[in-house]
Amino acid sequence: MSPRVRFKRFFWFLLSIFLGAGMGVFYGWVVNPVRYVDTTPDQLRADYQADYVLMVAEIYQVEKDPALAGRQLALLGDPQPVRTVQRAILTASQLGYSQADMELLGRLSSALETWYAEGGP
């Protein structure tokens, strides 16, 4: 086989590898991506996290227990629950939460800040 033919065959071989790799990535990322079915709350999308925090705020209004709220918020991954609430407030304001819901979130944030200032957990 002449060097030219050998080079040509090598070129097409290499090209087919790239083509196959592209097809594999497309299949693995788009057609049949890895499915996560056992996720944790900290992986929730920001709007779901905001609603999660709102639920915690609603429960706080009944229980008045910042430690409980702190434990519930800890599932969202941030070691500082106040930051979690503040992020939720930002998201909630972007999503147009009602004023009452915003106030609930704000009260939870204040309560947690006070609680931490007084010694926290």
Partner: protein, 284 residues
């Protein structure tokens, strides 16, 4: 000889590439779901999510909001899941309050639309119900960072109206439930030795979340109405052991019913079996 090999080397290259591509896409750099939805949560976190929904529900009394939140979990039968979880908690000796909250929401989900008391909205209604995709206005660091499935086009739940302290019915645990009816149940179609309890309010409506205390020599147990909403929101049951006599009370301050035990019955063919009781308690 080389010339006769034909184009098979191309297929070999393609397969090699495909394998490399899949290796990369599935193992080396798989799709990262940094923005998942509640239905993808691990089962124990789904349980935690249901508890949050149930505990938040009494604050707003907003069944629509609770329904919307439960829908995010994509349970086939949300009411059943809530009841089953309440039973699991009780069976594991967990928090009675948590089980009660789950049972109550489970029960309310089965109520017909409009049967709950109207909400007393002290605040302003939600100004708008944003129809924009929820991630449309998020800051860049909150956006999807890697390829993900198409996000839900709507918010998890619409902010319906301002939640305010619960105006919904709250079964009073120390209410003096009175025994209204007591019947032997001999029905071979029903589970043997079944002690069925139903609690009703003053208007005859089923009352969920009432604690039923049952004691016997050397033991006691508690269960709640509302865990079988498909039967009745006020229904609860307990399977008695043969040759054991039970004493039962509905609520903390209810009438005590003594001497309950599995009752001898006969089926249509004259064969003996142990039947049960049906007790109906009402609030005076």
């Amino acid at each position: 000889m080389d010339e006769r090999r034909g184009p098979w080397y191309l297929l070999t290259g393609l397969l090699m590439g495909l394998a490399l591509g899949l290796l990369y896409a599935w193992f080396l750099d798989p799709v990262q779901y940094a923005n998942t939805s509640p239905d993808a949560l691990r089962p124990e976190f789904k349980d935690q999510y249901r508890i949050l929904i149930a505990q938040a529900y009494p604050y707003s009394g907003d069944l629509g909001r609770a329904r919307g939140r439960l829908a995010l979990l994509k349970d086939d039968r949300p009411s059943f899941e809530l009841g089953a979880q309440a039973q699991r908690i009780l069976a594991a000796g967990g928090s009675v309050d948590t089980a009660r909250a789950l049972a109550r929401l489970s029960s309310d989900l089965n109520l017909p639309e409009g049967s709950l008391p109207p909400q007393t909205s002290a605040g302003t209604p939600a100004a708008n119900d944003p129809a924009l995709p929820p991630t449309a206005t998020l800051s860049p660091d909150e956006q999807i960072q890697t390829p993900t499935p198409a996000p839900s086009p709507t918010r998890p739940q619409p902010p319906t109206f301002t939640p305010r302290p619960s105006p919904t019915r709250q079964p009073t645990q120390d209410a003096p439930f009175r025994l209204d009816d007591q019947q032997v149940v001999c029905d071979p179609q029903r589970p043997a030795r079944l002690l069925a309890v139903e609690t009703l309010d003053g208007g005859g409506n089923p009352l969920a979340g009432v604690r039923i205390q049952i004691t016997w020599e050397g033991g006691e147990n508690a269960f709640f109405t509302g865990l079988y909403p498909e039967i009745s929101p006020g229904y609860a049951d307990f399977v008695m052991q043969p040759d054991v006599t039970y004493t039962l009370r509905a609520g903390e301050g209810g009438e005590l019913v003594e001497g309950l035990s599995a009752t001898p019955c006969k089926d249509a063919e004259g064969k003996a079996y142990l039947g049960g009781w049906k007790l109906v308690f009402v609030l005076p």
